[in-house]
Amino acid sequence: MAMKLFNENRDSRVMVFIDYRNLLQAFEFDQEVGRIDLYRLTKILVGDRELIGAYIFDGMSSMFNEGNRLNKLHNQFRELGFRVMARESIVKQINGEYVQKEVDVALACEVLEHAMRDHYDIAIIISGDRDFVPAIQKVQSAGKRVEVAAFSGSLSEESKRNCDAYHILDMLPVMEMVALREES
C-alpha cells in the first residue's frame, strides 16, 4: 500500500490564485449547459483546510468596450469574497491577435510575496501554464507547498512534475447548471 507523502492538515493555511483567462481559454465546455462556478471550484479545492485568501487575476481592455461588463463580473467575484487583481493589459499583436500581458507575472509576484511573508502554508495555483514553474520552485524553497489545478488539456508536464499535488479540473463538478426558467 502506497503511503501518501504529505499529511492533510485541517489547520493548513491555503491561498488560491486563479489565472482567469488561462482557465477560460482552456475550458471547452458547452457554455449553454452551464457556467464555471469559481466559488464552488475554490471550495472543493480547499476542502476542509483554512482558506486565507483567494485571488483572481484578469486582464482588461478598453479597446473592446467591455470595461463595464468586466467590471460587473469582477464586482460579482468581489462580492463572493475573491480579491480581484485586474490590469489594463490586453494588447494587440502585429498579427492582429489580442494577448494578455503582465497578468502571469503579477500572479507569480503575489504568490511569492505571500510565501515570503508566511501568509500561507499551501498555495493553489489554478493555471496549468508552464511559466509559473520558477515561481513554484521559489515558493517551495520558502518551505511552502504548491498545488496546481488545471484542465487536463492545459496542464503542462513541467507544472505537474514540479508541484506538490495537482488537480484535474475536468472531473470536478464545478459547472453550475441553470434553472430551466432562468434559461428561457
Binding site: 501518501k4 472531473m171 463538478p173 447548471m177 430551466l180
Partner: protein, 354 residues
C-alpha cells in the same frame, strides 16, 4: 549621635569648596537632595519644610544638578521664609562606600527621614517583585507534588481529547453517519426498503454496471482505540484527496482496503434518480427546498447540492434544469434514464455518475 554633630565632627575630613572649614556662624548642616526648580532655572530643595536654594554668594563649585545629593551648610534668609544652602560635599556611592558603617547608617536614616516618599516610590516595585518571586518559589517548592500531579492529570486529559478527536475523525468515514448528515442536509433519508443495495434487485436492473455485494464488518463488542483509515493507493493525487472521483462501477464496495474491524464499513446510501431532458426526479428531493446543480466539465459527474441559496427549486420531487439532454445519450423514444445517486459528504450533495 545626631547627624549634625556627626557631620561637624567629620567635616574636616571631607573638606569644603572654599576653606575646608565650617564657620561657627553657620548653624545647620544637613544632607539635601536637590530637584529642578519649577519656577525658574536652577535647583532647589527643602529644609525643615521650607524652600532651600543654593547660596549664590557663597558657592562657586561644581554645578548642582537635579537629583544630586550634597552635605550642605544652611543659613536662614533674612525674612526666615527660606534657607540658603552652601554645598560642602557631594554624596555619591564613592563617598558612602568610603565612609564608616556608622556614617552609612546615619546617612541612610537621614535619607529615609527626609525622602521617604521618593525612596518608597522608587523601590516599591522592585521590592514587591523580589518578594513575589521569593514567595512564588517558596510556594512552588512547597506544593511541588501537587503541581506534578496536576500536570500529569492535564497530560492525561490532552490524551483523552486526542483520542476523542481521533474517534470523531474515524466516524466521519462511517457511511452511516454521512447518510444521516445527508438526510438533514436536504435529502429525505430512505428507509431500508427504499435503499438500493447491490445485493437486491438493483443489480438485476443495471446489468451494465454490475453491483458487488457490500461487505459489512461488524464492530467488536469490546471498545477499542479507533484508528485513522489507511490511505489508499491511487495514481492521482486528486483521487487521493477526493475519493469520490474514482471511476469504478457504482456497485463496487467503497474503500475495500479499509478492512479494519475497528471501523465499521457499510455501503453508502444511494438514491434512485430519473433524469429527463430538462428535469431530474428523485423521491428524496424535498419539496420547496432549493438546490444547486453542478456538472463536471467532462460531463461525467452530476452533483445535486441542497443549499438555501440554490438556483433551482424542487417541485413535486422534481427539479427543472436546462440542458440536461446534452449530458447523456438516450435511446430514441426513451423519456428518461435511470441513475443511482450517492450522497458524498466531501461535496455535500448527491453525486450521480453519468
Amino acid at each position: 549621635m545626631d547627624f549634625n554633630d556627626f557631620v561637624r565632627e567629620n567635616m574636616a575630613k571631607y573638606g569644603s569648596p572654599d576653606d575646608g572649614e565650617i564657620s561657627s556662624e553657620k548653624k545647620y548642616v544637613d544632607m539635601l537632595t536637590f530637584n529642578r526648580n519649577p519656577k525658574k532655572d536652577g535647583v532647589m530643595s527643602h529644609y525643615k519644610a521650607k524652600p532651600t536654594f543654593i547660596n549664590p554668594w557663597d558657592y562657586e563649585g561644581e554645578e548642582v544638578l537635579p537629583g544630586d545629593t550634597y552635605i550642605c551648610s544652611l543659613s536662614p534668609t533674612y525674612d526666615g521664609t527660606s534657607y540658603y544652602a552652601t554645598p560642602i560635599k557631594k554624596v555619591d556611592m564613592s563617598v558612602i562606600m568610603a565612609t564608616s558603617q556608622e556614617f552609612i547608617k546615619v546617612a541612610m536614616d537621614k535619607i529615609w527621614e527626609n525622602h521617604k516618599d521618593q525612596i518608597m516610590d522608587r523601590f516599591r516595585d522592585r521590592y514587591l517583585d523580589e518578594v513575589t518571586k521569593n514567595v512564588a518559589e517558596g510556594l512552588e517548592e512547597k506544593h511541588r507534588d501537587e503541581i506534578d500531579a496536576k500536570e500529569q492529570e492535564n497530560e492525561s486529559l490532552r490524551a483523552e481529547i486526542h483520542r476523542l478527536r481521533s474517534q470523531a475523525d474515524a466516524r466521519e468515514w462511517n457511511p452511516e453517519m454521512t447518510a444521516e448528515s445527508g438526510a438533514t442536509a436536504g435529502f429525505h433519508r430512505l428507509t431500508s426498503d427504499e435503499i438500493v443495495l447491490s445485493s437486491d434487485e438493483a443489480a438485476d436492473e443495471e446489468p451494465d454496471e454490475p453491483v458487488v455485494e457490500t461487505t459489512v464488518e461488524e464492530a467488536p463488542q469490546a471498545v477499542a482505540e479507533p484508528e485513522f483509515p489507511p490511505i489508499r493507493e491511487h495514481p492521482s493525487s486528486l483521487e487521493m484527496k477526493y475519493p469520490v472521483f474514482e471511476y469504478r462501477s457504482l456497485g463496487e464496495v467503497q474503500r475495500p482496503e479499509y478492512d479494519n474491524p475497528m471501523v465499521r464499513v457499510q455501503s453508502p446510501v444511494r438514491y434512485r434518480v430519473s433524469i429527463f431532458s430538462n428535469s431530474i426526479t428523485c423521491d428524496s428531493f424535498i419539496n420547496d427546498a432549493r438546490y444547486f446543480v453542478h456538472v463536471s466539465p467532462d460531463k461525467r459527474n452530476l452533483l445535486i447540492r441542497p443549499n438555501e441559496y440554490g438556483t433551482v427549486t424542487c417541485v413535486n420531487h422534481t427539479i427543472s434544469v436546462a440542458g440536461l439532454d446534452r449530458l447523456y445519450s438516450k435511446k430514441e423514444g426513451q423519456m428518461s434514464v435511470e441513475y443511482t445517486g450517492e450522497y458524498n459528504p466531501n461535496l455535500e450533495g448527491m453525486l450521480i455518475k453519468l
